[in-house]
């Protein structure tokens, strides 16, 4: 699909964040969520690779290194479809602000780096509408690498891209893998209208950019929870 939820006439809006591991995107999305919740808006948060049922298969596949580029792609697409059909679409129909920590672009970047045919991957995800706003957190590769490598000395097999046989050293493999993913992200940035955020800045400076843009692009008061408004009024008059 080449249309956003707004263009498809959904009352809700979807905001996605993308970026490398260690770019700080999850922190930024969390702070955005807190700000929207403080305004008592209808907000829902959804994370990549989190559908309960699919997760058990994914973790088994990862633990036993059973996944190939094709099954890696398909199992993540299954996870995404489950969240898309059961959570995202109904909530967007109900006028929610849906916040996604990673969206289809993560799949496009990773699966293509793993060697899946680009058009095959894109067509698989063609059932999904585009986000109304996509933030891409761009940190210097070395900054992202340092954040991940400092905190967690043990890199997981697929996380480090070890299945690609880029290097026998997990750290070296991770560096090459992340560098290639960054290239893929940047290559599609313009096509999908990513809003680039300089992730080398302070957390507060980044959040200011994010909040101002969300306020500017979306009519936030229209996402207020009607029941909550009524409930609060009732409580006030009691």
């Amino acid at each position: 699909m080449t249309k956003t939820f707004a263009e498809l006439g959904f009352p809700g809006r979807l905001i996605a964040v993308e970026g490398l591991d260690g770019s700080g995107k999850s922190t930024q999305l969390y702070l955005l969520k807190r700000w929207l919740e403080a305004q008592r808006l209808k907000v829902f948060f959804s994370e990549w690779n989190s559908s309960e049922l699919v997760k058990s298969a994914t973790s088994k596949g990862k633990k036993q290194a059973l996944l190939t580029p094709t099954t890696f792609c398909l199992i993540h697409a299954t996870d995404f479809a489950d969240r898309y059909e059961r959570h995202l679409v109904p909530l967007l129909r109900a006028g929610y602000l849906v916040l996604c920590d990673r969206y289809i672009f993560t799949a496009f970047a990773r699966d293509i780096v793993r060697g899946c045919p680009p058009q095959w991957v894109r067509d698989i995800y063609s059932f999904a509408a585009l986000p109304d706003l996509t933030f891409f957190f761009r940190a210097d590769l070395e900054v992202s690498l340092a954040r991940i490598l400092d905190g967690r000395p043990q890199l997981k097999y697929f996380e480090a891209g070890m299945d690609l046989r880029l290097s026998t050293d997990p750290y070296e493999s991770f560096r090459i893998f992340q560098g290639r993913i960054l290239d893929q992200y940047l290559a599609m940035s313009e096509e999908f209208g990513f809003v680039l955020v300089d992730a080398n800045q302070s957390i507060e400076a980044q959040q200011t950019v994010v909040r101002s843009l969300v306020a500017e692009r979306l009519d936030l008061p229209s996402f207020a929870h009607p029941n909550l408004v009524r409930y609060n009024r009732a409580a006030a008059t009691r």
């Binding site: 049922l53 299954t78 489950d82 058009q119 698989i124």
Partner: protein
């Protein structure tokens, strides 16, 4: 390998070495696979539950092995990766159609890469109890986009031959009752809300799927086999067609 059945003479040591035929994928295929190294044969048997697929495959395995061919069997929902989760998802009936479709595709891909392709590289005969066509027919009956499905299953290898065991829905329902005394939820298409009672739903759903199979036959060229005849008669026909295939008779391939 089982006891050689009476079909092969005990003293006969001559074994037909199948002629090599090139393989190809329907679409993009699996990254990094050299199709020229796939020396074995992929034989697919399609058909509804109760069409006699499993019985026919069991007889074909006995026969092929007695003729000196090594066999490997695959089928739907048999992957190491997701078969358990897929079973659980179906029990709970909680997945929507795109999700279920992709879950089955994952199961298929896992078996394709870990069983079918290695067996073909090793020169074995792979017998598939259902293939992508059942998955596509079910999804098409649920209104999914045909081009989307064709792209997805562009990863699949084109089989050497596809047999479709055709049995009328009225006969299928009788066979299901004779075997289980009940109809299966999914085989009755109960998720589609076609009818209030399961019997009507089964007939309607099986007719819908059969109609999709007919369309797919035109696209993919299956060999339709009348599955309402006695087991031995159906098997004799399958063996004859496989013999022709192994001898390199291209008019027999799909």
């Amino acid at each position: 390998m089982s006891q050689p059945p009476g079909t092969a003479k005990p003293m006969d040591v001559r074994i037909i070495v199948p002629k090599r035929t090139p393989h190809r994928f329907y679409g993009y295929g699996i990254p990094g696979v050299d199709v020229h190294k796939l020396a074995g044969r992929l034989i697919v048997v399609e058909g509804a539950d109760g069409s006699g697929r499993s019985t026919q495959i069991r007889l074909l395995v006995d026969w092929l092995e007695s003729c000196g061919h090594s066999t490997v069997q695959v089928g739907l929902k048999r992957s190491t990766l997701v078969s358990e989760e897929l079973e659980r998802a179906q029990q709970g009936n909680i997945l929507s159609r795109t999700t279920l479709s992709l879950f089955y595709a994952t199961d298929f891909a896992d078996q394709l890469e870990h069983t079918i392709l290695p067996a073909l590289r090793a020169g074995q005969m792979v017998l598939a109890d259902r293939y992508i066509y059942t998955l596509m027919a079910r999804d098409l009956a649920r209104g999914m986009d045909e081009r989307w499905l064709q792209n997805l299953y562009g990863m699949a290898l084109v089989p050497d031959v596809v047999f479709y065991l055709h049995v009328a829905p009225e006969e299928l329902v009788q066979r299901a009752f004779a075997k289980y005394a009940a109809l299966d939820y999914w085989e009755s298409g109960m998720d589609l809300g076609l009818a209030r009672d399961m019997f009507d739903s089964f007939l309607k759903y099986q007719a819908l799927v059969a109609a999709q199979f007919q369309r797919l036959q035109q696209l993919y060229g299956f060999q339709t086999i009348d599955g309402q005849r006695p087991v031995e008669v159906v098997n004799a026909e399958l063996r004859q067609r496989i013999e022709a295939l192994l001898a390199g008779d291209s008019t027999q391939t799909g």
